[in-house]
């Protein structure tokens, strides 16, 4: 088993109700699998599937990325930086 730290932001945090989660996962778990796990626990997240960016340890990553013990995982909802400007 590995333990990962999940950071949650914006609408994701509102849905989950917390800014961080610590999660135990089987060795070899991927980012995509962790996201799927979260969606099962918080079905309101489902509408972000296919619309979010993934990061591991503050680097962009993709759903097939295999996680390691102690990784910081972020699921990044659609961004809107800088923007009062459409």
């Amino acid at each position: 088993m590995i333990t990962i730290q999940i950071r949650l932001f914006a609408a994701h945090r509102d849905i989950v109700g917390r800014p961080e989660l610590t999660l135990a996962q089987p060795a070899g778990a991927t980012l995509g699998e962790v996201w799927a796990h979260l969606v099962v626990e918080h079905p309101a997240l489902a509408r972000y599937t296919g619309r979010l960016l993934f990061a591991v340890n503050q680097q962009f990553a993709d759903p097939t990325t295999v996680l390691h013990d102690g990784d910081e995982v972020a699921f990044i909802p659609p961004v809107s930086g800088g923007a009062a400007v459409l």
Binding site: A11, A55, Q58, Q59, I76, P77, V79, S80, G82, A83
Partner: protein, 139 residues
């Protein structure tokens, strides 16, 4: 006095002057500054205020990456980007992008590119607080 940080996520009000002073080198004839401002309406709906949230530990390296992308595409000088987080009143500055370059065309193009990329990939989120009291994340 702390060293000037060209890429910064901050709760403090933004001021373009130090970014322009940082970016401007004697070889650069052109400096383009983009100021993104909290507006009083979005798609016609009146806004009372905005708040921004960032994944700051990641947002700063992403801003650096975006600047590096721009520097690969155009012959430009220094870039600085400051983004505010927290609650902003209408008319307050949310983001400043400053690009210096020897020639103005490249400065304009690079500044526009940096803003486009910030809106594509920088982990920064905006919540609109409507005049009627509701709030909504912009997605």
């Amino acid at each position: 006095m702390p060293e000037f940080q060209p890429f910064l996520i901050t709760h403090q009000p933004l001021d373009p002057a130090p970014l322009v002073a940082y970016a401007q080198a004697p070889t650069d004839g052109a400096v383009v500054t983009f100021t993104g401002v909290a507006r009083n309406h979005v798609a016609g709906r009146p806004t009372a205020s905005l708040s921004y949230e960032a994944y700051a530990e990641m947002a700063v390296p992403v801003l650096e990456q975006i600047a590096a992308e721009a520097a690969e595409r155009w012959p430009i000088g220094r870039i600085a980007v400051h983004h505010r987080v927290g609650t902003l009143a209408i008319g307050e500055t949310a983001v400043l992008v400053v690009v210096a370059a020897p020639h103005r065309q490249e400065a304009f193009q690079a500044a526009a590119y940096v803003m486009d990329r910030i809106k594509e990939i920088a982990p920064i989120w905006k919540q609109e607080h409507w005049a009627d009291g509701a709030a909504e994340w912009r997605e």
